[in-house]
Symmetry: C2
């Protein structure tokens, strides 16, 4: 008789993520997990990104991760795209999205009609980096007011991501932040990460971000 083994939480989590990924691959959806501290501008970025992709003929959907509330989903509703709110409050108030929640959210989406699926993770620069959801790409948004030292103090997030968007560039003249030092600190933490300064307000860097997304779709893996 074989001994039953209870698999550890992370193993279970990765299995669910792999199932998610198989579904994404089957439907040719590019999935981007967007992570950051609270208030870095993830939702506003999506408000600008999704219409720009639509203009180029690509359809999007969003899984909105929050502990509680539907504030971000409501902000995205006017875009007329499928949005699923995934709240962790009924599941202990987890501070990050789990692959099981993404799996549950996928039941509400028709993946065959979607080119890009954005997963807006819970605002937290620590824990979300530890949980693979099945995504193709991981993006961290670091807003200028957060300061130059964040990559050195929260290195895992920057190590685990493919791209760092430096957001709220429009605030640069009003801050004593050294953008070059910020970039140096990001690259010190991860030599392979791409870094792109953006401002959803002025439009700075948005076309480069769209180009990055389209390249990711071509080189999908």
């Amino acid at each position: 008789m074989e001994i039953p083994i209870i698999r550890d939480v992370l193993e279970e989590s990765n299995l669910r993520a792999q199932e998610n990924r198989a579904l994404f691959d089957e439907h040719g959806v590019l999935v981007v997990n967007i992570m950051s501290s609270p208030g870095s501008g993830k939702t506003m970025l999506l408000q600008k990104t999704i219409p720009a992709l639509k203009e180029r003929g690509f359809s999007s959907a969003v899984i909105e991760g929050d502990i509680t509330s539907t504030i971000d989903s409501e902000r995205l509703q006017p875009l007329g795209i499928p949005v699923v709110q995934a709240n962790t409050e009924p599941f202990g108030g987890d501070c990050h999205l789990g692959s099981h929640l993404v799996q549950a959210a996928l039941k509400h989406l028709d993946l065959s009609a979607i080119d890009f699926l954005f997963i807006e993770n819970i605002g937290n620069l620590v824990c979300p980096a530890e949980f693979y959801l099945g995504e193709n790409r991981r993006v961290v948004v670091l807003s200028l007011p957060e300061g130059e030292d964040k990559p050195l103090k929260y290195p895992l997030m920057f190590r685990e991501c493919d791209l760092c968007l430096l957001s709220k560039m429009d605030l640069a003249p009003h801050l004593e932040v050294d953008v070059e030092l910020m970039k140096t600190n990001i690259r010190k933490t991860n030599g392979h990460i791409a870094v792109l300064p953006i401002s959803a307000k002025t439009g700075e860097g948005l076309s480069e971000w769209i180009a990055w997304l389209l390249r990711a779709r071509v080189g999908q893996s």
Copy 2:
């Protein structure tokens, strides 16, 4: 024979916190646990607060919580006060300070020489709120660029705190943030919380913050 019971983690954590608190009370130290998202300005606030307390004849010490690095401790070193860096990386990289780490840090401090002990928690608007360290007061710093909706999306932190400092008020003219709505959302989450707009840059609200600290010391409990 009694059955040995392994106490749950939170119970162990609270026992350590109570031991910390007994030490604080014994020495008449007022302990303030400062929490926030990454980059809200906690360290800069301490850089302004501690000299202001010194001018009024009060001595301070700081326990600096970070996952990794000694960046914040180094920033405080010129103040010439006792600073202990508590890093969670050797303990699994926890995303919040635990009472056991505070207990370990206390071995490096002479509590009889301290009036105020500030615990700067790890930058995270979620998990630190769940762990009592033995402090007398809990303060959340919410910076203006983070947006009005944060209290509604991360309610536990705002429910658990005595005071919310609205930081980076100097940026208000450059942001589309509604400060009154921010205050309303904070008070909607916690009807008893005090709210104080501040700017470490311009000095706005700092004397009110110092007065709050001095009142907390008088009414210490």
